[in-house]
Amino acid sequence: DASCLTWEGQQFQGKAAIVEKLSSLPFQKIQHSITAQDHQPTPDSCIISMVVGQLKADEDPIMGFHQMFLLKNINDAWVCTNDMFRLALHNFG
């Protein structure tokens, strides 16, 4: 419940807020294709998991995305405590 989602720069905290955001994403179907993933252990025994790939939502063009999960072992189950998602869309310059 103390988990946090950062979606394209916006932060949502708590299960309810996160689920709300994820359900409110405006597409009907979505496909992901992971092109790279990497994982590292963190000093406090969590796992940080980084994924780069492409996604296609509904009929939109394929876009790159980048997502990061921080997984924590709580009661023998791995729970996602943080999630960060970014589209590889614009580059501000």
Binding site: A2, C4, T6, W7, E8, G9, Q10, Q11, Q13, L25, P26, F27, I34, T35, A36, Q37, D38, H39, Q40, P41, T42, P43, D44, I48, M50, V52, G53, A57, D58, D60, M63, G64, H66, M68, L70, T81, N82, D83, M84, R86, L87, A88, L89, H90, N91, F92, G93
Partner: protein
């Protein structure tokens, strides 16, 4: 000269050490005591009564009886001991023994002489397992809980227990009341045991005024005013002291206390202290210098008998910049140089030189640590403080990273940090990608199935990391392209990601532009420096619109987004686009830029994206 004192140079032991050796008064000689033992008449000894402890006290150290005894009472030691064993507690007004958890019988005091606590009588205060608490915290907690202010004397450790002395029954009984009132970190109650005792060594064997004078003279000769440095190496054999029959053995509490007293009065702003070759094996006495001469920045403890880093850690109140420890047994206990250095740096984070060697300096960020405490609830940028902290960190990091010599980054990484690098694997394009320089380090788990290689490519210690970073092609990062996301922050850790582009500056892929996403997990390491514990880098080729952005010099900009200059005409386009689309100026400009300022195309792109819901809300937020 001092014949009345019957000094025995070789046999005196005046240290509060673990072996529980017998403390002896100045006028006592071990052999004469032994001779009188059977007589059972303490008065012959002329005052002090060194007494072997027959039953187990907490640590085997002796308990000394009070000096003034009623001369009429002839006390028989063994009888008294026997009474003790029946657990008869002597309840007196002022002095009541603290209860032991395991109810071991305490030694009773003799007679009623100690009842009122004759002025000047001493008590020893013992804190079981006191070693596990930070000394300053412990003493401060006790002081604050104690109803009577007290001055601790001769604080030292006996194995795992802490002990000090106080004078007078008032403070002693107030301290007894503090027992079980303070809780340690794991909520265990800290007990305090109060017993009467003889004078602590530093008082008992206090140097005579003449000796003090000689010591002061000898020390003044060893003081270098220009450097504010005091050289006390091999002090015992200083010719002046030897000539005047002054025996300064620094392991003895009284000698150390005297030396420190002279430093406090005569050299209070001392910068450098050399205690080389003084056979020091414990630093309890020296640790008092932290209050007396806090200005010390250089300390030489080489060629002594210090056994562990913990011993050295007793000096951690000093803000040392230079430390010498070579020639101590503790140096051999470390498996390699860097564990040695880290262990010492734990106690002295600001240390610059150890044993004459410069230490790599960490990245120091000039922000107060307290501000790092920000829960996730804040906006994604966190506070301004955090943002500045992160940006400063990135500036420093990439400055070194782009500089051609990445070894400077050693200071940025934690010893046990992890780093790995990935490049995307595109199944449709099996041709070698232009990222060939990075392929050998590529740890794309999706592609890399070999578990051995998977482990190998996760660079673990900071040395391995910096080594592998040094091998990567030289880069120039475009700061203006950076997009920073802070997605997790607590008091202890900060996680953020940087998206951006960089250019390769040398080699066959010269001036090709790559896009990267790098994720850092950072922890604060005392005193405003930060340390990377995890570093993960994704590299990919840039998409066309990313390469378009003008490449600025990597001079840090205050914000991670900056608007490049636009012409008047373009500004007008932005304005109207903004009104039509509803997006704010920044985003409108970006959209137009991405579409090469082709208004219609931009409009189409916008509409497509908008119906796809791809445009984040902030695009529509009006920036004031």
């Amino acid at each position: 000269m001092y014949s009345t004192l019957q000094k025995d140079r070789t046999n005196r032991t005046e240290e509060y050490n673990d072996s529980g050796s017998l403390p002896r008064g100045r006028n006592r000689n071990w052999s004469s005591f032994r001779g009188n033992f059977g007589k059972r008449n303490p008065r012959d000894h002329g005052g002090y009564e060194p007494w072997p402890s027959h039953h187990q006290e907490h640590d085997g150290n002796m308990v000394m009886r009070d000096v003034q005894k009623d001369p009429q009472v002839r006390w028989t030691p063994y009888t008294i001991r026997h009474k003790n064993r029946r657990v008869k507690w002597h309840n007196e007004d002022h002095i009541q023994r603290a209860a032991w958890r395991n109810r071991k019988p305490l030694e009773r005091e003799v007679g009623d002489n100690t009842k009122d606590g004759t002025p000047g009588s001493w008590f020893k205060i013992t804190i079981p397992y006191g070693r596990k608490y930070d000394k300053t915290w412990l003493m401060n907690s006790i002081q604050s809980h104690c109803s009577v202010p007290f001055t601790p004397v001769d604080f030292h450790y006996v194995k795992d227990w802490a002990r000090f002395f106080v004078q007078d029954a008032g403070p002693a009984s107030a301290l007894r009341d503090v027992s079980y009132k303070i809780s340690g970190k794991e909520n265990q109650k800290i007990s305090i045991i109060v017993d009467p005792s003889a004078e602590p060594y530093s008082v008992q064997n206090k140097l005579e005024p003449e000796e003090m004078e000689q010591l002061k003279l000898a020390m003044s000769k060893r003081y270098d005013v220009s450097q504010q440095a005091l050289d006390l190496q091999t002090l015992r054999f200083d010719p002046d002291l030897v000539d005047h029959d002054v025996d300064i053995i620094l392991n003895r509490r009284s000698c150390m206390a005297a030396t420190l007293q002279i430093i406090e009065t005569n050299f209070p702003k001392l910068l450098s202290l050399n205690l080389c070759n003084n056979k020091l094996y414990q630093l309890d006495g020296l640790s008092d210098i932290i209050q007396k001469a806090p200005t010390i920045k250089i300390l030489n403890l080489s060629k002594n008998e210090l056994n562990s880093a913990w011993e050295v850690g007793k000096m951690k109140g000093l803000k040392l910049e230079e430390l010498w420890l070579e020639g101590n047994p503790l140096c051999d206990t470390f498996r390699d140089q860097s564990t040695y250095i880290s262990a010492i740096k734990e106690y002295f984070p600001k240390l610059l030189r150890l044993d004459g060697r410069e230490l790599p300096t960490p990245i120091v960020v000039d922000v107060d640590i307290p501000y790092l405490i920000k829960p996730c609830k804040e906006s994604y940028k966190g506070s301004e403080m955090l943002k500045n902290l992160v940006l400063q960190f990135l500036q420093q990091y990439y400055f070194i990273y782009d500089s051609g010599d990445r070894r400077g980054l050693l200071g940025a990484y934690h010893d046990e940090a992890c780093f790995s690098l990935s490049i995307p694997f595109n199944p449709e394009d099996p041709a070698p990608s232009s990222l060939c320089e990075y392929v050998k380090d590529n740890r794309n788990i999706k592609k890399l199935k070999d578990p051995y290689l998977r482990v190998q490519l996760l660079k673990h210690t900071k040395h391995d990391i910096v080594l592998s970073l040094c091998v990567l092609p030289r880069t120039q990062h475009d700061f203006s392209s950076f997009l920073v996301d802070m997605w997790y922050q607590t008091e202890r850790v900060l996680c953020f990601s940087v998206n951006g582009v960089f250019k390769e500056v040398v080699g066959k892929s010269q001036s090709s532009v790559r896009a990267f996403t790098r994720t850092f997990i950072i922890v604060p390491v005392s005193n405003s420096s930060l340390c990377i514990v995890n570093d993960q880098l994704f590299l990919r080729d840039t998409t066309p619109n990313e390469t378009q952005s003008p490449f600025f010099m990597p001079v840090p900009t205050p914000t991670s987004r900056s608007m490049p200059t636009v012409s008047q005409e373009q500004q007008e386009m932005v304005q109207s686009f903004s009104t039509q689309s509803g997006m704010n100026l920044e985003w409108s400009q970006k959209c137009l830029q991405d579409n090469e300022w082709n208004y219609t195309r931009a409009g189409q792109a916008f509409t497509t994206l908008k119906t796809g819901g791809k445009i984040p809300e902030e695009a529509f937020k009006q920036i004031p």
